[in-house]
């Protein structure tokens, strides 16, 4: 190859390399989102992450404690620890009865006093799941609808026009929803101010809230089919 040709080819190579680098940078840049948070948002995020970290540390501590118990104890005591942790887990999932202070919510029909034809109102699955989502958002810990404990895998479905929870019909109105929470008054205030109430009213239903010192929630008595659950990141 002649000298001049060599240099020419080299310059072309330089250009190509530059183009490829820029292209690579552009495409890899697109994947990461632009950070447009201001300092307060960043601070809040930091705070949230720190709280999450604390939470995780606590959990790790508890798990470590359990492991330690296992290692230290004799086989009989180990069995007890196992039973204990099983109880804790069952309690968490909702496989056991639960008592506590909370909110009793009654969904009742409203009858209009004119003579127009009115069908008996019923709670649609959509409305019910929205209501339950809202309860969960505002700090409900355990919920039961009628006699059905809401667990993490409780289905709320429409079966031939009737609303089913845990594969059993909820029945006709009035329906009682029991909610256990650490701060019932706050939950009540939130729910009373929520727009979901208007939607219930539109469907000729009203919601009554009642604070209760002692509520008993039934246990979730279907088998847990966990095959449908999938692990998620984070």
């Amino acid at each position: 190859m002649r000298r001049r040709t060599k240099w020419l080819v080299s310059v072309v190579f330089l250009l190509i390399g530059f183009m490829v680098a820029v292209q690579f940078q552009t495409t890899s840049y697109e994947t990461q989102l632009r950070d447009t948070r201001d300092i307060w948002e960043v601070r809040e995020e930091l705070n949230r992450q720190q709280e999450a970290q604390q939470e995780l540390l606590k959990k790790i501590n508890a798990a470590d404690q359990t492991i330690e118990n296992y290692e230290k104890q004799s086989s009989k005591e180990q069995l007890e620890t196992l039973k204990e942790s099983m109880e804790v887990l069952e309690d968490k999932v909702g496989l056991s009865k639960k008592e506590g202070g909370g909110l009793e919510i009654t969904i009742a029909p409203i009858f209009q006093e004119d003579l127009s034809v009115q069908s008996f109102p019923k709670v649609s699955p959509l409305l019910l799941s929205r209501f339950i989502n809202e309860l969960n958002t505002y700090g409900a810990q355990d919920i039961s609808v009628g006699n059905e404990r809401i667990s993490m895998i409780s289905p709320i479905r429409d079966v031939n026009g009737a609303t089913y929870v845990n594969n059993r019909p909820v029945g006709s109105l009035p329906i009682t929803i029991k909610v256990l929470t650490s701060d019932p008054q706050k939950l009540k205030d939130y729910m009373e101010a929520s727009p979901t109430q208007d939607i219930f009213n539109m469907d000729n239903m009203e919601i009554q809230f009642e604070l209760k010192e002692k509520l008993v929630l039934p246990k979730f008595d279907d088998p847990l089919y966990l095959e449908i659950l999938e692990e998620t990141g984070g």
């Binding site: 020419l8 190509i16 390399g17 680098a21 820029v22 552009t26």
Partner: protein, 118 residues
């Protein structure tokens, strides 16, 4: 042989260090330009192996292909047709063809060497 590779590395580092990013609307142009550049490159290697390399042809080919590809992408955007796909297709096919020819030439040379040794 080492000079072009050295320059390629210099180009890549320069591109990464300068931190240049193309706006979203122009990424199509750049990607197709890169494709055209690769096509020219392989064409040049093939010509070198076939002993028909000419630096003028190589240089004009490079710039002409890159700008034609960008022009085609531009035209496609104006017309609302994804014309740049045509360029991607054409360059892709040529890329494979050139690669195949290069491979054949290299293999042939090696085979010839072996036969001669025998």
């Amino acid at each position: 042989m080492w000079l072009p590779i050295l320059f390629l590395l210099i180009g890549v580092t320069l591109g990464i260090l300068t931190d240049i990013r193309i706006p979203d609307a122009y990424t199509d142009y750049l990607s197709i330009a890169v494709l055209a550049a690769f096509d020219t490159l392989l064409g040049g290697i093939r010509a070198q192996l076939e002993k028909t390399f000419d630096d003028t042809v190589f240089l004009t080919g490079f710039f002409f292909n890159v700008s034609l590809a960008a022009l085609l992408a531009f035209l496609g955007v104006q017309l609302g047709v994804d014309l740049y796909l045509a360029a991607v297709f054409a360059f892709g096919v040529r890329l494979f063809k050139n690669l195949a020819i290069i491979r054949r030439i290299v293999i042939d040379q090696k085979l010839l060497m072996k036969i001669r040794k025998k």
